[in-house]
C-alpha cells in the first residue's frame, strides 16, 4: 500500500466520521487497493465477454476460414458473410425452429412451473423435501440428460415406445428423434423437462413473497380459488414472472448442448436452430466468418430481450 500523505483529499467514499482523519492519509493507496479488488474480475470479464463480442463482430466481416489458421490472413469482405448465411436455404428454417423451440419450451416450462409452484405452496408433509428433489433435472449436465432421453426415446427399444405400444396407445413405434416431423417436438419436450425445476423454484419464491394477509382480506371479499389467483396471486407475481420469462428467452435461444446431444440438428435439419447452425459453420465447416455472423444475429435477437430484462430487473438491482 502506498502511504502518500496528501493535502487535497477528494471526495470521501465511505466510513464513519472518527476514522476519517487517519484515512485521508491513506487515501491514494486506498483508491489503488479498491481498484485492485475489481481489477481481476474486470480483466476476466473483458477477456471472456468483451473480447469475444468484438472478435465476433470483426470475424463476421472477414473471410475467416481454415486458410486463416495457416496464412494468418483474413481479408475483409464487408457484409458478405451476413448475406451468405441469410440467403442460405437453411436460414429461414433455423429461424422458425429457434422461434418454435424458444416459445414452445418457455410456454410449457412456465405453465408447468406455475402449476407445480402453486401446488407446493399448499403445506403438506414432505412438501419441502419433494420440492427440492424436483431440482435434480436442472442440476444434471445437459449432455447426461440428452444421453438419458436418447435411450428413452430410442425408436425400437426405448422405454417410451415400448410402454405406449404395450398400452395400445400407438400401433407402430414413433420415431421420436428420427423423423423430421416429430424430432423438434421431442427436443422441445426434453428441454421443457429440463427447465421446469428452475421455473418452479423461482415462481415458488415469488409466491412465498405474497403476504398471507392479502389472501385473508381477499377471502372476506369472496376472492377464493380462481378469483384469488386472478386478483391477488397473478398481479403480485407479475414482476417475478416477467423476469423469469425474459431470462428464459435469453437462455433458451442459445441452447446448443441438448440439441447436439439429442439429434445433432437432424434429421434432415429438422432441429437446426441459429445456435446449432452457428456451431456447424464455425467448427464443422471451419467458416468462422459465417459462424460469427450467425451468432451476431443471435446476440441481436437476445439484445431486444435484454432491454426488457434490464427494465424488469432494475427494481431488484436498485433495491
Amino acid at each position: 500500500m502506498v502511504h502518500a500523505p496528501t493535502l487535497t483529499p477528494t471526495t470521501e467514499k465511505s466510513g464513519p466520521e472518527p476514522a476519517r482523519r487517519s484515512r485521508w492519509r491513506h487515501h491514494r493507496g486506498e483508491d489503488l487497493t479498491k481498484v485492485l479488488f475489481v481489477l481481476p474480475a474486470a480483466l476476466a470479464m473483458l477477456a471472456l465477454f468483451g473480447y469475444p463480442v468484438l472478435k465476433n463482430l470483426m470475424m463476421s466481416l472477414q473471410d475467416y476460414g481454415l486458410r486463416t489458421f495457416f496464412t494468418g490472413q483474413a481479408p475483409w469482405v464487408g457484409l458478405r458473410n451476413y448475406t451468405a448465411v441469410v440467403k442460405d436455404q437453411l436460414f429461414s428454417q433455423a429461424m422458425v425452429n429457434t422461434a418454435l423451440f424458444t416459445i414452445g419450451s418457455i410456454a410449457f416450462q412456465f405453465a408447468a412451473g406455475l402449476a407445480l409452484a402453486l401446488f407446493f405452496r399448499r403445506r403438506f408433509p414432505l412438501g419441502g423435501l419433494l420440492r427440492s428433489l424436483l431440482l435434480l433435472p436442472w442440476l444434471l449436465p445437459l449432455i447426461v440428460s440428452s444421453a438419458t432421453w436418447r435411450s428413452i426415446l430410442e425408436q425400437d427399444s426405448g422405454i417410451l415406445n415400448r410402454t405406449l405400444t404395450g398400452l395400445g396407445i400407438i400401433d407402430d413405434p414413433v420415431p421420436w428423434l428420427n423423423s423430421p416431423s416429430v424430432a423438434l417436438i421431442a427436443v422441445i419436450g426434453v428441454n421443457i423437462w429440463i427447465g421446469i425445476p428452475f421455473n418452479v423454484t423461482l415462481l415458488y419464491a415469488g409466491l412465498a413473497e405474497i403476504p398471507d394477509e392479502l389472501y385473508e382480506a381477499g377471502q372476506l371479499d369472496g376472492a377464493t380459488g380462481w378469483r384469488a389467483f386472478r386478483y391477488i396471486t397473478w398481479p403480485n407475481l407479475r414482476a417475478v414472472a416477467s423476469v423469469l420469462l425474459v431470462l428464459g428467452v435469453v437462455y433458451t435461444i442459445k441452447v446448443l448442448d441438448i440439441i447436439l446431444g439429442l439429434t445433432g440438428g437432424g434429421p434432415a435439419n429438422a432441429t437446426q436452430t441459429l445456435a446449432t447452425q452457428s456451431y456447424e459453420r464455425s467448427f464443422i465447416d471451419f467458416k468462422f466468418g459465417e459462424g460469427a455472423a450467425l451468432s451476431n444475429i443471435l446476440i441481436a435477437i437476445s439484445l431486444v430481450f435484454a432491454v426488457l430484462y434490464l427494465r424488469a430487473t432494475r427494481r431488484a438491482i436498485d433495491e
Partner: protein, 271 residues
Amino acid sequence: MPDTSLRRAVYTAIGVLILCVMLFPVYWMVNASLQPSGNTLTAGFLPLDPTFAGYRRALSEQGQNLVTSVIIAAGTVVLCLLVSAPCAYALSQFRSRWVGIGLLAILVSQMIPGIVIANALYTAYERLGLLNSIPGLIVANCSSGIPFAILILRSFMLSLPPSLVEAARVDGAGLFRAFVAIVLPISKNSLITAGLFTFLFSWSDFLFALTLTTKGGVRPVTLGIYQYLGTQVQNWNAVMATAVLSAIPAIVLLVAAQKYIAAGAIGGAVK
C-alpha cells in the same frame, strides 16, 4: 381435523407422484446402467439381474476423462472464487458510479451465447497454444462461473454492515487484510454456494469441451458421453453408467447442500 390431515396425505401422495414422473428419466438412467451389455434397450422396469459390467467398461474407458473433468471443475472453482470474491465485495460495499456499470456488464454478459465465446477463444487459443489444454478449459469455464459467483456473493455481502470492517480498519488493518480476515470468513456459506455451483457449471460444460479440444489428449467426460452417443450406440449400459457417474456431483450437491441450492437459483437469477 381428520379431514385436513386426510387432505394433506392426499397432497403428499400427489407430490410423490409428480416427483416420480419428473425423476423417471433419472431412475431410468440408473436402471439402464445396470443392464447387461448390448446395443438394444430391452431392460425391464426393474434391474432384476443387475450387472456392473457397464460401470467396469465406463471406468476403464472414461475413467481418465472423469479425472480430467474433476481437475477442470476444481480449477474453475478456485480461479472463479479468487477473482469473484473481491469484486463482489467491491460491488456490495464501495460507493462508486462504477458499481452500476459493473452490474450492468454482468447482466449483459448473460445474453452472450457460449458459441460466441467459443468462436473467439478458439482463434485466440490456437495462437496461444491453449487448445487441448486443461488451463484453457478452466479459463473458458470461468465465463459461466465468474458472473454467477459475483452475483451470488454480492447478494450476501450486501447484508454486511460496513462497521464490521471499519472496526478492523481502526486497528490499523489494510482494506485487503480486513477483507481476508473478516469478510471472507463471514461469507463462508455464500462462498460454498458459489463454489458448488461453479463446480457444477464447469463439470457440466460441453460446448467448450467440444470446441476447444481438437484431439484426444484432454477430454472431459461430457465429451466422452457425446462421443459414445455418436451415430449408433453400441453399449447402452456403458453410456448410461458414464451418465450416472457424471450425475454424481449434481446428486451430491442436491443431497448434501440442499439448503444452498434454492438460494443459488434465486440469487443468480433475480439479482
